[in-house]
Amino acid sequence: MVRDKSEGNFMYLHHVLPAVEHGRYAGDRRLELPSGLEGYYRSHWDSMRGDDLDAFLRVNQKIIACLATAHRPITLRFIARVTSLTLTEVQWTVERWREFLHESRGRDGPEFRIYHASYRDFLAELVAE
């Protein structure tokens, strides 16, 4: 089943296996496993959007888009400044999107970037709301 759903993409396993481990796809719910990597990205995006639409539109998507268009890893403080959001809002969003981000140590503390180019490609297809 996982082989079919993953469409042979390693990145799919990178995301889905931890999610299965954390019980997100627990039990005999094979139909809920998203199809393909893009399906997984879409399912996560929709899930976050559904949790709190107002916060998603005002905060989350702006921060993720800011990270996706940065030219190199940047600090949370810098994201806050560019998006005119608070540091707390940035921290909260980064926690929720953690699996799609890569953290590295910068001169002035942790820096973040989008983990994989395919996620940026997925974001590039989205329309701003």
Partner: protein, 459 residues
């Protein structure tokens, strides 16, 4: 919901934030990492956000130029931004913007032009410039300057930047007669080229249009390539048309071969070298091979090289620049001295070389004497001293410097007697310096005092 892409909106946000910051005057007040990011990416963010051409061009002013200097200590980033705006103006056929970009590029390039190859290398060595910045500078330099820059930089290029250094080598397509070329760059880079990139280096060497320069590139690269690359180097050497150049290139490859392959390619190089028409080229090709060849072919190479050197210039009309031929002959004979294998051979050849040097123009004797002396047997050192002492006042110090290290105390005394006959105090002092250093080990300052005293009492 509007139709704008999510990322397009983010790009506009980046451009607006950074642009406002630049105009507000708070640019330098940013935290260090943000200041660095903002400087390096403002032009890119403006471009990506699709701002009008005028807005991108407006960035290219003196303040932006100085801001780059403050960050990097070079104008390379400024020039990269100019290039970006220029490309855009070209696409838009905006002539005014293109002229502005051309002026900016000229100003930035002129400011960068004060850099010498040594200074650039030193800046990277002492981490004033990052290797990437230095490579950007080299890339922007004119073609005639690019090779000297790259040669100086080569020992300071970390492995992950070598592919970029090879790009620079590839960009060198014109063959200049008297300045550095692609072959010099490849030779300088050779010890630092990772195994994965060696095939590309060989390809670059093989595509040099000049046969001689291609051979030089192979000579430079050969000692450093992995064993599995040697066959490609050999194929490249065999592809050279000119006999002397091909023989030289083959000689470099011979050193990397063993057993039957070594002997076979050595014979091939030998046959080629001995059939070269020009006697000077023939002597050089044979001497190059002599330094690399082992086994039975070696003695044949040595004999041919010796015959060629001895007969240097005899087929030319005797009155035609005979002095130059004598200098050339002495030089080619001296080239063979390090390769003699028996004491008898060493004695014969060293005597011949010293006699040939004696026949040279006095001004040129010291240079060759310096090359020959390390290979002159002890019992012939006095003849070397004789050659040195035959040189006139002004050049005497250089000649004595070439032999001083090998003199016995008695020979030193002989030299001092000769020096006392030098007319001017200055020449006398200069000639004494190399002997005094040998005899006393004193510092140059202390020696100078002693020599002035010697001059005053002997004059």
């Amino acid at each position: 919901m509007n139709a704008a892409g999510l990322l397009d909106q983010a790009r506009r946000q980046w451009a607006a934030y950074l642009s406002d910051l630049w105009q507000s005057g708070d640019w330098d007040g940013q935290p260090e990492d943000e200041r660095d990011y903002s400087q390096r990416n403002l032009a890119a963010h403006l471009d990506e956000a699709g701002v009008p051409d005028e807005q991108l061009c407006a960035l290219l002013d003196e303040r932006w130029l100085h801001s780059w200097w403050a960050l990097e200590g070079t104008y390379e980033g400024f020039l990269a931004d100019v290039e970006r705006a220029w490309r855009r103006a070209e696409r838009a056929r905006d002539l005014v913007a293109q002229i502005k970009c051309a002026l900016c590029a000229a100003a930035g390039s002129a400011l960068s032009a004060n850099l010498s190859p040594g200074l650039l290398a030193s800046a990277v060595e002492h981490e004033v410039l990052a290797p990437q910045q230095a490579l950007d500078i080299v890339r922007r330099a004119g073609e005639s300057n690019r090779a000297p820059f790259m040669v100086a930089l080569a020992p300071h290029i970390p492995p992950r930047y070598v592919d970029q250094a090879l790009d620079v080598a590839e960009s060198l397509t014109i063959v200049y007669a008297h300045i550095m070329n692609r072959n010099d760059v490849l030779a300088a880079l050779a010890p630092y080229i990772p195994a994965l990139l060696q095939a590309r280096a060989i390809e670059l060497a093989s595509s040099i249009s000049s046969e001689r320069k291609r051979a030089k590139a192979i000579v430079g690269v050969a000692p450093h390539v992995a064993a599995e690359q040697v066959e490609f180097l050999l194929a490249s050497a065999r592809g050279i048309q000119g006999g002397a150049a091909r023989a030289t290139a083959l000689s470099a490859v011979v050193a990397r071969l063993t057993g039957a392959d070594h002997q076979s390619v050595a014979r091939e190089a030998y046959e080629l070298a001995r059939s070269v028409d020009d006697d000077e080229d023939r002597a050089d090709a044979l001497a190059a091979l002599l330094g690399k060849v082992r086994g039975p072919v070696r003695s044949r190479v040595f004999r041919s090289a010796l015959t060629t050197a001895r007969n240097m210039g005899v087929e030319r009309i005797a009155s035609f620049d005979a002095r130059k031929d004598a200098d050339l002959r002495a030089g080619k004979l001296a080239d063979l001295l390090p390769h003699v294998t028996s004491v008898r051979q060493q004695t014969v050849l060293a005597s011949e070389v010293l006699a040939a040097i004696q026949r040279m123009h006095p001004r040129n004797r010291s240079r060759l004497l310096r090359r020959a002396m390390p290979h002159v047997p002890k019992h012939l050192v006095s003849r070397g001293l004789g050659v040195a002492l035959s040189v006139d006042g002004g050049s005497l110090s250089h000649a004595l410097d070439a032999v001083a290290e090998y003199l016995t105390p008695r020979q030193l005394s002989v030299a001092i007697v000769r020096i006392k006959k030098v007319r001017t105090l200055r020449d006398r002092a200069e000639a004494l310096l190399p002997l005094a250093r040998k005899a006393t080990g004193l510092s140059r300052g202390r020696l100078a005092d002693a020599i002035v005293a010697f001059g005053a009492t002997s004059g």
